[in-house]
Symmetry: D2
């Protein structure tokens, strides 16, 4: 990083609360100082607060030690530009190549960096977020599940200050994640949902460990489909800020397209996990939202995914609505989805995908086809299938959404047959002498 | 305080997380420094950790800014000696008189104190408490309710490190106490009890805001009677450390006497909230426990009330028992209790109490009578009545415990009649010309 | 202060290193928090860095605990606006009246302020000041005398980083000021001057305790007249930034007028210690410098008196000059000065001054007269006399500057006779029956 | 280090103020945490305070990042045991082998260490040192030269608090060491000596950069021979604590032997830089002092070399003496010394030394001979010669001390001839076929 920044400037380093995080943070700080960078230790905080801190403190970059929603034994690093935007693949590649080739520029003994500490980022973030919201008029009862992560002194505290009756769950930061796995998917939130229902709360909010993911639970204790939450934000921001572009990934629901269309916006899709690529465009003034499953980037708020901001926006919308949480999502079509995977050795993935692509594109009643990341075919009735190679495992992944449960069953049946057959075909060709 | 300490030495100052606490802490630090004391800022922490810190750091005294289990708008101060023992009334009186008479000794400009900060007390306390426990053998599921207080990074974290599956409730510190009122009484823990039951947890633990009070919930989600918890600790410590003295207050159950008797100890009673007075005795080596409703002082652990330590001891006992939480309390008689109050103007309290005392002492089948704090009569069947003046309100308070529900009803009926009649009599005499 | 700010906003609080400073700082922090202000503890630092910090952190005000150049047993408070400008008398009066009448607005328990700490102001200031300077070309040997004050990690460190060979004197902060009295006047700097000469250093720099005063010593170890230093800055800033206004006090030398005139500027005078009043004017864009004995405010750098900045500017000028330090002051007339005082009871000051004024205004060869603060008469030959009442002591003060030593002797003789006679006259009138 | 400590326990890490120190400290902290050690960051402080902190905080070891008195571009590491004793070669070898073979034991993700910070070590050290001294009776004027190092807020501040009139030189910590080279040898202290004389101070004290070296300057501004200072401490501690052992190195003066003998002690010598080896002996109760050029270990004070303690002891002795600083050293013979070196390729060192040894041992009038580190011959008149191989350079080093200047000249002449001849002989043999 110090080499990439030409051995000068300031870099903020923060970490989540994982057991391995403080050690990694100290090592990174040491490397930066030795590389001539003024390293700012931001301590333990959520990822969005670190990203917020980079432009706030006028630093040149930010480094966050976190494994986000992954299991407790994992850890990793996210880098942020001076604007608080996560590094895009091109930027990461430069960094990785420097590390891979151990091409580090050294500085002489009298050009080392100066260490400082950044206190008060959490307070500054809290102040800005509370300034972003209007006074609440209702006394909402909200369950906030912090996944034993670093949002414990942000989301529940801010909602409480806004006047909510907050009951917090798993709100003590604990690197062992004893309460539940950090990923806020429906399976991990069964207890949280039941608790919302038991308490007759108005809403449930659940985060991952580092505060960049959000799940919503309605007043009945029902997990709100994640694509529905994304569609809600698309509609909210288009209504607030006027027509514009909504960026999302190829694995999200056509309900987003429906809602965006009727709200005067346009949807643009990108590879999984890469919506922030659009924030490198020269003209980004018209981008209203970048969204991925569980993640929200509102460029008018900041260039980082921010689930604490998103949580507060949902509660504010509920406060202003006078109705139930479930009513917030009215008008967003609720279509059944299913995700499947099929084991497939790495070397067979390409021929398998080729067969599948050909077959899918030959389907009837297609409205359009995307090959940004695997192949996604959209049918005229808004149903769709996405088939893609897993980047990290020996699997082919299939995502289906149907206009109705029956239609979904049909899509799942057809695609299962298609993929299994393609793998078999690939295996046979693979055994032939080359 | 600086005057009391002859304008020299070290004092540690800590506070809970109430909204008014940081301001009070800063003001106290300023006063100590100006009075020639080296003031150590211990920041936000539970009361037991502040008390632990005084002997740990070799300081001369400790000051804790906290209103314990009181409502969020309250605040107050507790003082601790160099041993970590709370000030007794005589010590508090000296302080209050100095303040009341504004008799502060000043120091000259070059004898002011030096400020420092105490980091790491929470880590040091955690290390000592974990060293006190044996390895856990079971994977216990424990709900810990922190009352939005300062125990959030202690009790749940320590139990998690010991291997428990901890689900924490209200574990983000919040001076507004949005989750529930801080006092861990049955009424405030209804939701917590239901949550324990819903989760099929092995045990529930609930604190007040500053960590000196403990409530226990069994595996069925039932609130364990507080006197039963005290009796449990008496039995545990007598068994562990051998025969000795158990100090408790006049408002606690005769079940404690029963259990202590059969465990080879002797019970000594004192006024409400004053069991730590016994720790000023020259020979205190034989005191096994000082206990008051929700509060536990184990002198072998430390001279302060410590509900985090108590919580870990209960979980350890459960771990070693191989049975259910409810089984921990087997052998402790469960007798029904009721608390009443009667309005009585301050000037009538004394004549009313005189009439009541006389009548109670004339009751039949009495085993003995205590007049330490009001009047308590113990019947031969272990039932008892305590009547006392409220120290802060215009009330006469009555505590009854019966051997059986029927017996309790009888005690309540009789004492109600007795107190009401005594108040009426006092009012009539009061209207006579003196 | 919290009342003055309507119980909201942020205030930074810093202090110098005096023995009584940490206690006062803590007490002020406590008061601000209780008054609803978010109080930022900036710790120990020089006054200019505190002032710099207010706009830097976007705070609403700053409070500095310091007694500047006064003896170690003194202490006091300076307040700064959101721009970093010291409070003017009108602002101080509001504050003093609120304090005097104990008219404090309270906030409710849930509106108290949030405490934070400001780390890194010293680093940020250092970075900005180094960015303000051009690379040094010479290896200058500079003695820096920090008066055992808070500039120890700024002026000598910055000059060293710029490439100077710095020898520091009294550079350990010590509230007892063992090295020399804090005021950087010639009497207190005898040793420092001799040390500069002994070392054959290129320059000597001396501060007071909190970094808002500067004295300069030339390469011969000679103390440079303070008005000559002010004239140097006036010429420097007029040359750099173009013609404009120079604000100074009525007790400074006519050499300033001479130099300013020939550099295209205009001099405006004000009462002692009040040049920052001009920074409240609507149009201040044309003010090049506010200067008082030992104090420099360059509005283009910041609205506060800043002797560390001034020190660096002198060294930079020397670096760019290629000559000796004494040559920096060429072209600035060096006229002899003398300060006298006469004992005069408070009740006689007014009649005495009336007599003196009349007599002085009747002098011949006067160019002009000023009655801003006492009475100052300027003669046609640039000699002048200022007579004023002491604000704090029972004295009449007289300042004389003559075109030549002979002329000075004459002025001193005349004004002595004049003042003594006026006092005698006043005493006689005073003894008459009214 | 974490491997050596079996991946558990606490290690304190501190550093001096060199530009490369914070980066190295952070990297070490990161490594310890990852290795399962609870790492305590002690920040910037002198080496003796770090060593003092290890037993004070009950840690298992200490690591100090410092290059002591070396040039600014150097840096290094010193390790300390739980007693605060520097590692001896055997302990260092274990560490170096582990590092050399990269044999690091890893810990699993949930056994990483916990980071904390140690504040207040400087205050605690100051308090202990001031408690060690008696009240001063004289108002001594003392110049303290801190070598721009980390003693700036210790030695001068403590002496000032004890009542001295302290004038500090080079007391701002600056990693560029602009004031003078850090080693407190006579050549580097010429200015300091002149300053003491100019000020007519009672005493001068000079440190190296990290506070483990002391030089003393008397009231005339004369540098006191370092061996004389050691002899002074030997006499002082033998007088205070009774007869015992004085440990020193083979390169120190016979004046130490003279003084120790007459004070009832015995001298034991060891290799250069290794007197602390004696502190690993089972019975060390009788060791009164370990001393090396500029370094003092008083085991009754602590097991580390401590020049701040030593400085205070010298000033205290002066305070109690009522005389001049030079009088403190009366009775210690002042014998002239000279140090020479001769270039000698590494491969010729051994044969050269063999020749020299033989010749030296054949000298007449020898009292005794030591071969602990090179060869040292002591003559009957207390004159001596030490010849040893340099461990780091291609040199043979010769140390001579004579009873008189004439005797010294003779020793230098003889040993020069001897060594030059031995090298020549070795070169000739070296060119012969083996």
């Amino acid at each position: 990083m110090s080499t990439m920044l030409a051995n000068q400037g300031q870099v903020i380093v923060g970490s989540d609360h994982r057991t391995t995080s403080p050690g990694l943070r100290a090592t990174i700080l040491g490397g930066l100082l030795g590389g001539g960078i003024d390293a700012i230790d931001a301590g333990m905080l959520p990822t969005p607060v670190l990203a917020f801190g980079v432009p706030k403190l006028g630093a040149n970059a930010g480094i966050m030690v976190t494994a986000s929603h992954n299991p407790p034994e994992d850890n990793g690093i996210k880098c942020y530009t001076h604007e608080g935007r996560e590094y895009v693949p091109d930027e990461e590649r430069i960094l990785e190549e420097l590390i891979g080739q151990r091409q580090f520029t050294d500085v002489t003994w009298n050009q080392t960096g100066t260490p400082t500490e950044a206190r008060g980022l959490i307070d500054a973030y809290t102040e800005r977020l509370m300034g972003r919201m209007e006074s609440f008029r209702r006394k909402l009862k909200v369950v906030v599940d912090c996944a034993n992560g670093t949002t414990f002194n942000l989301t529940p505290l801010i909602l409480s200050k806004m006047g909510c009756e907050v009951i917090s769950l798993n709100a003590h930061p604990d690197g062992l994640f004893p309460g539940r796995p950090a990923e806020p998917n429906p399976a991990n939130l069964v207890t949280t949902c039941r608790f919302v229902s038991m308490l007759k709360a108005d809403l449930g909010i659940a985060h991952d460990g580092d505060g960049d993911r959000l799940a919503v639970i309605d007043e009945k204790g029902r997990y709100v489909n994640n694509d529905t939450v994304l569609a809600f934000f698309a509609r909210l921001l288009l209504t607030e800020n006027g027509p514009g572009r909504i960026v999302t990934t190829v694995d999200t629901s056509s309900r987003i397209d429906k809602v965006v269309e009727s709200s005067g916006g346009t949807v643009e899709r990108t590879r999984l996990g890469k919506t922030h690529l659009f924030l490198t465009q020269e003209d980004r003034s018209n981008i209203r939202l970048c969204c991925e499953p569980w993640k929200i980037i509102d460029p008018a708020w900041g260039f980082w995914g921010d689930a604490m901001y998103a949580a507060c926006m949902v509660v504010q919308a509920l406060d202003q609505s006078k109705g139930h949480a479930s009513a917030l999502f009215h008008g967003i079509p609720d279509r059944p989805q299913e995700r499947l995977y099929f084991k497939c050795p790495d070397e067979l993935k390409d021929p398998t995908m080729a067969t599948i692509s050909k077959a899918l594109m030959a389907e009837k009643s297609l409205r359009d086809v995307s090959t940004l990341d695997g192949v996604r075919v959209n049918f005229n009735d808004d149903s769709w299938i996405l088939v893609r190679k897993s980047g990290t495992e020996g699997k082919i992944r299939v995502y289906c959404e149907g206009r109705s449960p029956n239609r979904l069953r049909q899509l799942v049946r057809n695609s299962t047959r298609l993929v299994e057959k393609a793998i078999t075909t690939a295996q046979r060709s693979g055994t032939k002498p080359a």
